[in-house]
């Protein structure tokens, strides 16, 4: 698991930012009349596009490649779906996006620790 403060801060900042922006963009661009299912799918796609742009052009240049890109894509994908599930204000949508980003970082760290303990078990 990552122990260096610079990279832990980077992971949290990048995922929180991607989560907030993905949720805000979905809230602003995807109309509620589309319905929950279509809204979730479009929000997911929008969140992934936002995460790919932000990580490729900014966050991965500063904080790392796969370690930044993969969790950020999950954060963007999930946070993009949220406004379609729970209609709320843009501020609340962003706050949920931030929390999603933080949770994704924590889950990724736990999974990464589990994989690092499994020296021979994977076959990727």
């Amino acid at each position: 698991m990552e122990k260096r403060p610079f990279f832990i801060a980077g992971d949290l900042i990048s995922n929180a930012a991607v989560g907030a922006l993905a949720a805000l963009a979905t809230h602003a661009l995807i109309a509620p009349y589309l319905g929950m299912f279509v809204g979730m799918v479009l929000g997911m796609v929008l969140g992934m596009i936002i995460s790919m742009l932000l990580t490729t052009l900014l966050f991965s240049v500063i904080w790392g490649a796969m370690e930044v890109m993969l969790p950020c894509m999950v954060s963007g994908m999930v946070a993009g779906m949220v406004p379609a599930m729970w209609h709320s204000s843009s501020a609340v949508a962003m706050e949920r996006g931030v929390w999603i980003g933080i949770v994704v970082v924590l889950v990724t760290y736990l999974l990464s620790t589990a994989f690092s303990l499994n020296k021979e078990g994977q076959q990727a």
């Binding site: 990279f7 790919m52 490649a65 370690e67 990724t108 990464s112 020296k119 990727a124």
Partner: protein, 205 residues
């Protein structure tokens, strides 16, 4: 020589250090130093592929290393880093699928984020096996695909884009190493099951 691949990496050479030279290298520096510490003096070492030489600061000093890369523009960019290395690095433009080295030349082969980009990974690994001495060591620092959803899905998706301008993100490199006839000694996962070191050897018999 795969000229399509060569052209792709020649094009990437101009911006390669901007994308890969700071964040990824800083994040992996400690792990790479530990990885390259397996380079042994008095061994014939092949490093594939040199790229712009970002890995050179992580090499132990005082070694003599042969290195190849398919891209002349990458090797051109690597020259300042090669010049300051406290040891000797000999570079050649060469395609791993068709290396001109004699059979059983090297004691150790090292790769670093290379087999995400080799067009035919099993054939490339078979070429490395050919130039290794019996019992010779293969050490790889690679990113691969994942066995875990949603990361596996995302890596497949990213590959649709990245393979046009650079690496694939969904390679099954450990499987490929075995398919090429190497004996895998150990695999260490550094990030999820995506970034890893693979340590293998050519069968002695």
């Amino acid at each position: 020589m795969n000229f399509h691949c060569q052209k792709k990496w020649d094009r990437a050479a101009g911006t390669f250090d901007i994308m890969a030279g700071r964040g990824p290298e800083n994040r992996w520096r400690d792990a790479k130093r530990a990885f390259f510490s397996a380079m042994k003096p008095n061994h014939r070492i092949l490093f594939l592929a040199m790229g712009t030489g970002l890995d050179i600061p992580c090499f132990p000093t005082g070694l003599t290393i042969d290195s190849i890369d398919i891209s002349p523009k990458m090797l051109e960019k690597a020259q300042p880093r090669i010049a300051v290395y406290d040891g000797q690095i000999h570079t050649q433009v060469m395609d791993v699928h068709n290396m001109s080295f004699e059979d059983e030349t090297f004691d150790q082969v090292f790769t670093s984020c290379t087999f995400c980009s080799v067009p035919d990974p099993v054939k490339g690994l078979e070429s490395l096996k050919r130039v290794l001495k019996p019992g010779g060591e293969l050490h790889m620092f690679e990113h691969t695909g994942s066995s875990l959803f949603p990361f596996s899905f995302m890596l497949h998706l990213m590959t649709l884009l990245t393979s046009q301008i650079g690496p694939d993100m969904n390679r099954k490199t450990v499987t490929n190493v075995r398919a090429a006839g190497f004996e895998v000694d150990r695999v260490n996962n550094l990030f999820l099951d995506v970034v890893k070191t693979i340590h293998a050897r050519k069968p002695a018999g």
